[in-house]
């Protein structure tokens, strides 16, 4: 659609990948030389996990325009699936962690399909409540399944312990990249267009010949898949899992990140995951007032930027290039 000369897509991707690799290398160097201490390394890992959770929830809220509140549930499925796999398989956990992560994503995606098909017949508030309900069911099932079936799988309230702690700064951020890249690629394809058109106007989309059920379910399954991936990384980060960690407050936390970043903006989700994870850590100095300051910050942002930090816009390196090269700023296209 843009008329200006564009670099070939492959070159663009290579440049982005190279810049990202440099960032990973720099991060690793800083960690190795103890410039970033163990504590802050862990904070950065949480940032990465939250980024994955937020960009995937953004598919459901921002792109599809629905309000699924099941993040904690899908995260739990991904976390437990991958953790059980990692504990059982007697190969070097570092080597098979990618398999564990993908497995977590797939199992979670399967749950997404099972839940999505009936749930997506509903809209708005109803969908929010039904997904919230499903997430709670998943949590309760994980809590009680061992006792009910007489097996030892999740260890329920007694914690699933001794999960190999395989999540690192590097692999967490590599998965951030994979998630963003794949979601972006999907949204730029005709499938992405179809999903966005459903958000804009369902009736018009249907009269254009778009299969509503298929595309809604597809968006929901991709959301569940990457939330499961985030969960798997979370399991490898904590090393110990307890169902109580996946209550609905967790889903709300992720939703807050997405709303603050701007629904429909992937860059917004990424930035706000970083801000909302790091700010509470920085505020630890104020101990008692920490959560008050945090909440106030949220309120202030939402008053002055009701569409979130980025609205539905995306960060575009071209904007910066134009600025430095003194080109005239392009008019907003939409």
């Amino acid at each position: 659609m843009k008329t200006r000369k564009n670099l070939p897509l492959i070159v663009k991707y290579l440049i982005v990948a190279a810049v990202y690799a440099l960032f990973l290398l720099a991060g690793n160097l800083l960690i190795k030389n103890k410039v970033i201490g163990l504590y802050y390394t862990k904070v950065l890992m949480v940032v990465a996990i939250n980024m994955i959770l937020a960009v995937s929830l953004n598919i459901g809220t921002g792109y599809l325009g629905q309000l699924p509140l099941g993040s904690a549930g899908f995260m739990a499925v991904g976390a437990y699936a991958s953790a059980i796999f990692m504990r059982k398989v007697p190969i070097d956990p570092k080597l098979i962690f990618p398999v564990g992560i993908i497995l977590g994503g797939l199992v979670s995606g399967l749950f997404g399909l099972i839940i999505g098909l009936p749930a997506l017949r509903l809209k708005g508030d109803y969908l929010a409540i039904i997904t919230l309900g499903f997430a709670e069911i998943i949590r309760i099932v994980i809590l009680n399944i061992d006792k009910a079936l007489g097996i030892t799988l999740t260890y329920g309230a007694a914690n699933l312990k001794n999960i190999p702690k395989t999540t690192t700064f590097t692999n967490a951020f590599i998965w951030v990249f994979i998630a963003c890249f794949l979601i972006k690629a999907m949204m730029n394809s005709r499938h992405g267009r179809a999903i966005l058109s459903i958000r804009d106007n369902e009736i018009a989309a249907e009269s254009c010949g778009i299969n509503l059920t298929f595309y809604k379910t597809m968006a929901f399954v991709v959301y569940a898949f990457f939330t499961g991936v985030g969960g798997a990384l979370y399991a490898g980060y904590l090393g110990i899992l307890n169902p109580s960690g996946f209550g609905f407050a967790k889903s709300i936390d992720i939703l807050v990140i997405v709303v603050l970043g701007g629904m429909g903006s992937m860059t917004g989700s990424v930035i706000s995951s970083a801000v909302l994870t790091i700010v509470p850590e920085l505020l630890r100095a104020f101990s008692d007032y920490r959560m008050i300051v945090y909440s106030l910050l949220l309120i202030i942002v939402m008053i002055f930027r009701p569409t979130g930090l980025m609205g539905t816009k995306e960060f575009n390196p071209r904007g910066i290039m134009d600025f430095f090269m003194g080109r005239k700023k392009r008019k907003e296209e939409r």
């Binding site: 804009d200 018009a204 989309a205 009269s207 254009c208 299969n211 296209e333 939409r334």
Partner: protein, 233 residues
Amino acid sequence: MLKVDNINVYYDNIHAIKNLSFEVMDGEIVTLIGANGAGKSTTLKTISGLLRTKTGGIQFMGEELKSTAPHKIVAKGLVQVPEGRRMFQNLTVEENLEMGAFTMPPNEIPDLKDDIFRRFPRLSERRKQVAGTLSGGEQQMLAMGRALMSRPKLLMLDEPSMGLAPLLVDQVFGIIAEMHSSGVTILLVEQNASMALAVADRGYVLETGKIVLSGSGKELRESDQVKKAYLGG
């Protein structure tokens, strides 16, 4: 071309369409007229697969559509322009048209788009404008243009004159006649009975879910019953 055979449609317990049958032949303009709540839009929704009939059948070019999914019906060339225009408000005119060609092979899209811009010069002028900022008449043109992007064989228009100024209504009906002359068969649902009957080859009058009268456009315009009820004496 389209044969609606004895359909019955319900909204829960409300019997909205009662034993309705009618036919649209290849190359015709057929209109369904009737007051609010007569079941005009319900009929169109049933044909495009959004609602289901309990009895009878709907044949389009010899194929049974009764239980075909809506998106497959569009791919077969039976396209509805929904009531109230229904734009993708945040997309530009051009992008709206591209969405209309969702079922078409991508390499045909530029040609299809050129064709629409030739037919609707007004849309061509506004091709980069966001659809939500178009006037009512322009939005109706865009809705029809978007439907034409999938090269429909039969186009179903649901109240294209709704909420438009008289001058624009004339324009919209001009476009309908023009689309028809380019080979598209049209099923038109209208409250504006006099305009609809003027362009239509044949018409059906709907009252509370039943066809009470049918005939050629001219016959219906001259019928006392229609005059009294819909044309203002």
